[in-house]
Amino acid sequence: MIPAAFEYVRPDSVEEAVSALRQAGEDAKVIGGGQSLVPMLRLRLALPTTLVDLGRIEELRGVRDDGDAIVIGAMTTHHDVLGDALVQRYAPLVAQATETVGDRQVRNLGTFGGSLAHADPAGDLPAVAVALDAQMVVAGSSGRRTVPAADFFVDYLTTVLEPDELLAEVRVPKLDGWGVHYEKFHQTAQAWAIVGVAAAVRRSNGSIAEARVGLTNVASVPVRGRAVEAALAGGEASAGAIASAAEQAGEGTSPSTDLTGSAEYRQHLSRVLTRRAVSAAAGL
């Protein structure tokens, strides 16, 4: 249970962190709260040569208001995200999904940016970021760039981050007047989602004006439920209409089979959980 040896650096600023990453080369790894990484180090599933610890970089912590979006610092812990008034007001879907991450201890140390950059398809936050059209602000040797969440996740545990880049903050567009819900299906407390569905719905009177759907753990990356969204838009906000739109939830998914469920079962869950998540978000 002891990690293999590595070099360890504790930069005080994003610039120092980026230059440490550049010097350390390909096999360096960034550590945020370490709640995904330290277990992997212990099992020697990750063997970085250098760890760059972002724990001292104050500018990466906290949430701020930025006009039509809120900006969540990558090193903001799940605990602090949950307690944040801006998140509660403008991004309650983030709060709902965050509440289901790991357990209290994990949420006390684990970070918002870490969960996204780790890019585990079973993680809860990537699907939320994709559903909300979040913008990932990436810092690297040549300055900052912004990547839409939909393009950030490349494959299992893989993002667009280059070896000398880190996720600095995430812009989450404000959703005012939307109903939201994160529906997660798992077997035991603190287990990963077998499937999860993030939904946001804007109603106008008896119909659904717009909907956003993101799915957790149904492919190697989070999946945006475009077909479901199209089927919902402009339709009735009724149980029947939502159930029939949710039938499309398997589109674009390519779930894997593992001990917690077969690919077929995951597609079934995608439909059922999409129906539940959208219904709850629509206030039905």
Binding site: E7, Y8, G33, G34, V38, R42, L51, Q105, L109, A189
Partner: protein, 173 residues
């Protein structure tokens, strides 16, 4: 080697550690704080829970280096040193409610309970179960653990001078 400066159970330590040292290893092997135990290899059991700046964390899941500049409280520091034999209200409640059998999960359970009660001084049984989801007990079936946390919460509330809540089933006048 990385230099760390960390306060553990009220004592400040300046030490050089290998970066790969886990906090739990540092506590047990360097400082002799063997009250904090390791129960698993998968970050599931919570037996290793300690407080980092007052919040529950799994000491097997962070590096000792990550605790640099922070304050760690282990089960051995729940009662200030010098008060030998005295018990913290959470410890007393676990004893009185018989919230343990083999006792292996107990240090972590108590530290997780302290974390929970700091956030929520009057949790329902449901909230206690949710709050302790990061801690596994293979013996008790959890019933008495929930009772103990509830009893400790009541004692801590009255010690703080908060008005006691109306007991269940007793109508307030």
């Amino acid at each position: 080697m990385t230099n760390i400066s960390v306060t553990v159970d009220g004592v400040r330590y300046d030490d050089d550690v290998e970066p790969r040292t886990l906090l739990v290893q540092y506590l047990r092997e360097r400082l002799g704080k063997v009250g904090t135990v390791v129960g698993c290899d998968t970050s599931n059991c919570g037996a290793c829970t300690v407080l980092l700046d007052g919040r529950g964390v799994k000491s097997c899941s962070l590096l000792a280096a990550q605790s640099d500049g922070h304050v760690v409280t282990t089960v051995e520091g729940l009662v200030p040193t010098g008060e030998d034999g005295a018990l913290h209200p959470v410890q007393r409640a676990f004893h009185e409610q018989h919230a343990l059998q083999c006792g292996f999960c107990t240090p972590g359970m108590m530290m997780a309970a302290c974390d929970l009660l700091a956030d929520n001084p009057d949790p329902s049984d449901e909230e206690i179960r949710e709050g302790l989801e990061g801690n596994l007990c293979r013996c008790t079936g959890y019933q008495n653990i929930v009772r103990a946390v509830s009893a400790a919460a009541a004692e801590l509330r009255s010690a703080r001078g908060a008005a006691p809540s109306t007991p269940e089933g007793v109508a307030s006048a």
